[in-house]
């Protein structure tokens, strides 16, 4: 480690976290990927194409918006980083554009991906369509059933969606199945991991592809205010939008806050472990079997967390708090009714944190990453709030 959120050492460690715990059959592939990424990321031609694609296609830079009515409600100056306005409706597009361009550069013709809520699957299918690559997305059978709209979107984009029937049939099992299938298809296939997780170089590479969030927000905030914000807040499942956001502010005095779902708080409630190729924190039973996460937001329904977050927590540079499903539902309505923005349930964790911590942030400036839009969650929210039958009042 040279500095916080810099390049990891050759072993891919952030302190004790991270590493590369994969079967020998995958080792040459992740070593090759690391070399390819290192080379591409310092190549101006690759950086140029990545940046140009994000601008012309994905709608970057996204706005940093001063949410005045929300600010008045919570007693702080709240700026929203509008990743919900990026193409496909969430920050996931930043990462997949980067990985798809890298895959093509490596001569791969096919992408595979895991997905929980379907946002990363949709983003992967989108990037594959854009670059003329094949795509296959692994999705737990349980998630296929509860995120049917995104399953349809992926198929419409030309991707194959493979329901995963092993284990708990959710996101963690989709990761297992994607890794299994990758081993048998290394020649032509790149595994496009959707968060800052997995074996080295993924946690680092995905953070770098997402740091555009934080870099833009920092520039935008400095331009508006002349000095960095007091607080920077983002939701954390695997933690990619938070890692990308924090990367832009880690060397400022801003206090960094990751918001975990209470039912999937790997940092808040997990213990150290080694799963999915990385050393980090995981929800586990007393024997080291991985437990399922249970969150209202499928995108945060992951029992682990990216290793760099485990490190930032351990060294105290970022703090990780928890928000319950009920608080999330309140926050979705609050943002919708004060700002006219329907955000994703994932992102609503960060909004709920503002409400929960009003006293602490009173009068301060806060940048909140709004990681995605809420259309995909309409059914879930309606079912919980009863709007389908009612008159619109919760």
């Amino acid at each position: 480690m040279t500095s916080l959120m810099g390049d990891p050492d050759v072993t891919g460690r952030f302190g004790e976290f991270g590493g590369r715990f994969v079967p020998e059959s995958l080792m040459p592939a992740v070593i090759e990927l690391e070399a390819a990424f290192r080379e591409a990321w310092i190549d101006p031609a690759f950086r140029g194409e990545y940046t140009a694609t994000l601008e012309s296609y994905a709608g970057r830079p996204t706005r940093l918006y001063l949410a005045e009515r929300l600010s008045a409600q919570v007693g702080a100056e709240v700026w929203l980083k509008r990743e919900d306005l990026a193409h496909t409706g969430s920050h996931k597009i930043n990462n997949v554009i980067g990985q798809a361009l890298l895959a093509r550069r490596m001569g791969k013709t096919r992408l595979i991906a895991e997905t929980g809520a379907g946002q990363h699957g949709v983003a992967t299918a989108t990037a594959a369509a854009l670059l003329g690559l094949e795509a296959k997305v692994y999705m737990g059978e349980v998630d296929v059933a509860r995120q049917s709209l995104n399953v349809f979107r992926m198929r419409l984009l030309g991707a194959e969606v493979e329901p995963v029937t092993s284990g708990s049939r959710t996101l963690k099992d989709a990761v297992n199945e994607a890794m299994r299938s990758w081993v048998a298809a290394l020649d032509d296939t790149h595994y496009c991991i959707g968060s800052v997780m997995g074996p080295h170089p993924y946690p680092w590479m995905v953070r770098e592809f997402q740091r555009v969030i934080g870099d833009e927000a920092r520039t935008q905030f400095l331009k508006a205010k002349g000095s960095p914000p007091d607080w920077v807040v983002a939701c954390v499942g695997g933690g990619s939008n938070a890692a990308g956001t924090f990367a832009g502010f880690v060397d400022t005095p801003a206090r960094l806050v990751g918001v975990e779902p209470a039912g999937g708080a790997a940092i808040g409630r997990g213990v150290g472990g080694i799963v999915h190729g990385m050393q980090s924190f995981f929800l586990q039973d007393e024997f080291g079997q991985v437990n399922e996460a249970t969150s209202i937001s499928a995108g945060l329904d992951y029992p682990g967390v990216g290793p760099e977050h485990a490190f930032l927590h351990t060294v105290g540079r970022a703090r990780y708090d928890q928000i319950t499903d009920d608080q999330v539902l309140e926050a979705v309505q609050l943002l919708a009714r004060t700002e006219g923005i329907i955000c994703a349930l994932e992102s609503a964790h960060a909004i709920a944190w503002l409400v929960e911590h009003q006293e602490e942030i009173a009068g301060a400036s806060v940048v909140v990453t709004l990681s995605g839009r809420g259309d995909k969650d309409a059914e879930t929210i309606a079912a919980r709030l009863g709007f389908l039958e009612g008159d619109g009042h919760a």
Binding site: R20, V22, H276, F287
Partner: protein
């Protein structure tokens, strides 16, 4: 001890058979261990179930899920193994989180006191396994290394420098499971590994029949590891006689094939 036992058998010209069984998949699972030993297994690989077996195909996944559903734990498996003695070496296969969670030093002690002589940890590659190997070596617990068809020659030699027990040559690029045809990579692995090491060379993953076992022996292997093809028969509720016939098929092929 594992290594010495296998080397001694090999010196006598015997080809080695290491069947894999999932611990605790039914209450009577140790009877399968006894059965395969009785029919000529030279060592037995025992799987401890893990919630996220990312290197295993459908058969071993299902066996693991059954075992976990029965409440099997790493400690219950080791207690069962430790309550008995076995005439051949036992090798435990599981994912690293199980041992990491127990604490590596405690895991090594518990494995040894249960009589286990070797371990296979598929998600603990060369670069990450230094501390584990030091602790295990101190207690004479052999850590078996895996070699894959994708492993470059220089890397093979690096891994061989820390290899113990035997060389586990992965027969194909993929997860555990039966295959109708032997992958070309299985015989290639045997041929590649044979001149590079004095350790016994066993090929596993995708070895599903006596004919396939014979083919890798002819290519230079000293033996085979057979998992899914055996476990599938157990999961299909085949009788002990039918399972014995399958082990006999493998044993017969190994005993009658010349390298």
């Amino acid at each position: 001890m594992l290594e010495a036992t296998l080397q001694a058998l090999r010196a006598k010209g015997r080809h080695l058979l290491v069947p894999y069984l999932m611990a605790g998949l039914d209450p009577d699972w140790l009877s399968y261990v006894d059965l395969v030993i009785e029919r000529g297994a030279d060592a037995v690989e025992i799987g401890i179930p893990f919630s996220d077996p990312s290197m295993d195909g459908p058969v071993i996944q299902r066996a693991g899920e059954m075992a976990l559903a029965r409440g099997v734990t790493p400690l219950s498996v080791l207690a069962e193994l430790g309550s008995r003695s076995f005439p051949v070496p036992l090798i435990v296969m599981t994912y690293y989180n199980i041992f990491h969670h127990m604490g590596e030093e405690r895991a090594v002690r518990q494995l040894r006191s249960a009589g286990v002589q070797g371990v296979i940890i598929p998600d603990l590659p060369l670069e990450e396994g230094g501390r584990w190997r030091d602790l295990a070596t101190k207690e004479q617990l052999d850590t078996v290394q895996l070699f894959s068809p994708a492993t470059p020659d220089e890397r093979i030699d690096e891994i061989l420098a820390v290899a113990q027990g035997f060389v586990y040559g992965v027969g194909l690029m993929g997860v555990t499971g039966e295959r109708a045809e032997l992958a070309a990579t299985a015989t290639t692995m045997a041929t590649r590994m044979r001149p590079r090491t004095s350790l016994p060379v066993l090929i596993g993953i995708g070895i599903s029949s006596g004919d396939q076992a014979a083919a890798v022996i002819r290519a230079g292997a000293d033996g085979v590891v057979v998992g899914s093809a055996l476990l599938r028969r157990v999961l299909d509720n085949q009788s002990p006689q039918q399972i014995a016939l399958f082990i006999d098929e493998l044993r017969g092929a190994l005993d009658t094939t010349e390298p």
